[in-house]
Amino acid sequence: MAYSDKVLDHYENPRNVGTLDKNDPNVGTGMVGAPACGDVMKLMIKVSDDGIIEDAKFKTYGCGSAIASSSLVTEWLKGKTIDQAYAIKNSAIAEELALPPVKIHCSVLAEDAIKAAVADIKAKQAAKEAA
């Protein structure tokens, strides 16, 4: 199966690989896994006090499409509000990377990682307000 040029570009030069401080109250972490292939993905976002995503990092262990999907979303996330981030759909990721049907689950994984990271930051914010 041939990867698209965009997948290859992200795979060979992944953007924003790494981690942020998970104990930072402004950092949300999303971890997800794809049971069909054993891929694991960790996405971390740093959110300013007014709800804008300032930084995003990822670590993905999986196939080229999973790495490309997570690399792409870290680019998309910067500058977005957490609500805009939450609204990102896997179909948009799959379309941008021209993923074939058998690799659609990689884009699902990336969407779920965003949702998990947003849920984590919202939980942290709620805990901060409750304190």
């Binding site: 971890m31 997800v32 896994g33 794809a34 049971p35 069909a36 292939c37 054993g38 891929d39 694991v40 960790k42 670590k59 262990y61 659609i104 689950h105 699902v108 994984l109 779920d112 998990a116």
Partner: protein
């Protein structure tokens, strides 16, 4: 009517399965369906024997591997344990996966074969532990949702094992 893989090998539909009880019926079918025996047979018989040999191969490979066997057995019970849309594994399990993956990455970069082998042994032990858990969940407790989650974990462990093996081979 088509036989399922267990029926094909005349085995009980249980998760617990000794490799030897799988090999005997597999070899018997492969011998009976061998192309050499069908040299002068009709095209239909040749095709049927080839289909049988292919089916036996698929069945053997599926039942031999614990994760695939569990997935197949749960599938017979109507449960799709490896559904793509199910990405929410337990957080502590994913955390552990990340740690193992990072250890694998570090050891590969450092060309540290001993660490890779140690990690491989740790993974094998975890795989064996999950296999024991699966026997209990499927054959005894018949707790299929829990078995489904354990099967997913085993798929992740198998993937790490395969990647460690690849890393070791690259260093050899």
């Amino acid at each position: 009517m088509s036989l399922n893989y267990f029926q094909l090998f005349d085995l009980p539909e249980t998760f617990a399965l000794a490799l030897s009880t799988l090999e005997t019926p597999y070899r018997r079918i492969q011998a009976s369906a061998h192309p050499d025996r069908f040299v002068s047979a009709t095209p239909t018989e040749q095709r049927q024997s080839m289909q049988l040999a292919t089916l036996a191969n698929e069945a053997f490979l599926t039942l031999k591997n614990p994760a695939k066997r569990a997935e197949y057995l749960l599938g017979l019970k109507g449960i799709d344990s490896l559904n793509d849309s199910n990405t929410s594994m337990p957080a502590d399990f994913l955390m552990q996966q990340m740690e193992w993956r990072e250890a694998l990455e570090d050891a590969s970069m450092a060309k540290d074969t001993a660490s890779l082998e140690g990690l491989f042994d740790e993974m094998q032990a975890e795989g064996n532990r999950l296999t024991t858990v699966l026997t209990d969940l499927i054959d005894h407790k018949k707790d299929y949702p829990a078995a489904s989650e354990t099967t997913r974990k085993l798929v992740f462990i198998d993937k790490v094992c395969a990647d460690i093996q690849q890393a070791i081979e690259r260093l050899d």
